[in-house]
Symmetry: C2
C-alpha cells in the first residue's frame, strides 16, 4: 500500500524565529500550499508564538497551535529558575561536541515532526518543512542531516510518499538571512531570544547567532529597529 | 558523541490493553526498571487509562499520563459520533491491505514514541518497549516491523544507544496471551474495547481480536469473568 499525498501541500513547523519564518516563505515561493504548526511546550520565550501567529497570518496561512507538556523536562528553556547559557557553542567551534547546552529539550523536534506527520497525513500533505540548521546552531542532535535522512526512511516505512524538507540545514545564519530578504521574509516580526522578556537580551545563544547573521549580512536587525 | 543510556532502564508505552500489559510484565521479568507512559488523546475508550493506571500500580511502576490534542483527527476512535467498524480485517485476511479501518489515528504511535524518546533521554533509559503487533492487528502501518527498524535507525542518528523493543510484533493474540499468563499478567485488569462503555461491546475489532485470542488459548477472558 502506497499512500499518495499531494507533494505541493505542506505542513510547516513554525516557531516564530527567523529560520522557520524563512522556510515558510521559501515554501510559499516554491508554490506550496502551507499549513503551519505552532507549539506551546512550556518555553520561557512563549512570546515567540505571538510572532509565529503574526508571520503565519502575514503569509496568509492557516495554523494550529498545539500545547504539549513534558513533565520530565529539565531544560533551561522551560525552567525559568535556571540561568540561560551564553555563547555555549559560538566560542567552541574548534572543540568536539561532547556536551549539549542546557537549552536542549529532549526529543523536541522528534515530537514536533510526529505531530506534523499526523497533521500532514490527515490533510493529505506530501511535504513537511522544518527550519533545522546544522551550521550556526547549538549542537542539538535533532538538527543534523543524518537525523532527517532517518526520518525520511521512517516515513517510507509507513508506506507514504510524504517527505521532510530541510532547506536551511547547510546554510549559515548569514546565508539564511540573505535568502530570506530576497523572499520578503518579515524579519521584523520574528522573535529569537530565549529569555522572552520585553526586549531581546542580546546575550543568549539564540540572540548571538541572530546578531552574527545580521552583522555578516551587512544589515540591521529589523526587529531591533522596531524597538528603537 | 555517543550518549550511553542504561540498557536495563526502560520506558514502557502502556495503553491498558492486553498487549502493552504483556509487554510490561515481559520487561519486568527480563529485569528492566520500568517507567510507564500513558496517553489521553481523546480516545472514546478513555477508560483504558484507568486500566493502565491499575496495571502500572500492580506492577509497582511509576507512570506519567500525557494529554495530547490532535485537532485535525477524524478517526472513529476519537469521534464519538461515528460508528466503530466491526470485523474490518478479521474477515479480510486474504485480501491485500488497501485501506485502513476508520479507527486508525494518524501518527499515533509516532507521537507516542517521540514522547517516550524524550522521557527516556531525560531519565537515561536505554530501552523503549511498545506492544505493537503485526499479526492479529487492524493493519495500521505503525505496527509493522519495518517501521520499528526505521525508528531504531533514527535513534542511532541521534547518537544515542537507546533502542525500541517490540517483543510481541510477530506473535498471534493467542501467543501473546499464553506468554502473558506465564508471566502473571493481570488480564482481568486490562481493557480493550474501543467503545469504552460499562461492558465490552464484543463487536469492535479490538473485542474480536481479544476474544479470538482467549478462545484459541483455551481459557476464559478474566475481564469478562469479573463482570458475571
Amino acid at each position: 500500500m502506497k499512500k499518495e499525498n499531494n507533494p505541493k501541500k505542506a505542513v510547516v513547523l513554525l516557531s516564530g524565529g527567523l529560520d522557520s519564518a524563512t522556510v515558510l516563505y521559501h515554501a510559499k515561493a516554491k508554490g506550496y500550499e502551507c499549513h503551519c504548526l505552532l507549539f506551546r511546550y512550556g518555553q520561557r520565550h512563549e512570546k515567540e508564538l505571538k510572532a509565529a501567529r503574526q508571520i503565519a497570518k502575514k503569509a496568509g496561512c492557516f495554523f494550529h497551535v498545539i500545547a504539549i507538556t513534558l513533565p520530565w523536562c529539565t531544560s533551561s528553556l522551560t525552567d525559568r529558575t535556571q540561568q540561560l547559557p551564553s555563547g555555549h557553542r559560538l566560542e567552541k567551534k574548534a572543540m568536539p561536541l561532547v556536551s549539549l547546552p542546557t537549552t536542549y529539550v529532549p526529543g523536541r523536534n522528534t515530537i514536533f515532526i510526529s505531530f506534523a506527520l499526523s497533521f500532514a497525513e490527515t490533510i493529505g500533505a506530501g511535504t513537511i518543512f522544518i527550519g533545522a540548521n546544522a551550521v550556526d546552531y547549538s549542537g542539538y542532535p535533532d538538527c543534523r542531516p543524518d537525523y532527517y535522512t532517518a526520518w525520511n526512511r521512517l516515513l517510507r516505512s509507513l508506506g507514504t510518499t510524504m517527505k521532510i524538507q530541510t532547506p536551511l540545514i547547510r546554510l549559515t545564519k548569514e546565508g539564511i538571512i540573505r535568502a530570506g530578504l530576497a523572499l520578503g521574509v518579515p524579519y521584523g516580526l520574528t522573535w529569537s531570544c530565549y529569555k522572552g522578556a520585553s526586549t531581546p537580551c542580546g546575550e543568549c545563544d539564540s540572540c548571538r547567532y541572530r546578531a552574527k547573521g545580521f552583522r555578516k549580512a551587512g544589515i540591521g536587525d529589523p526587529a531591533l529597529k522596531k524597538l528603537t
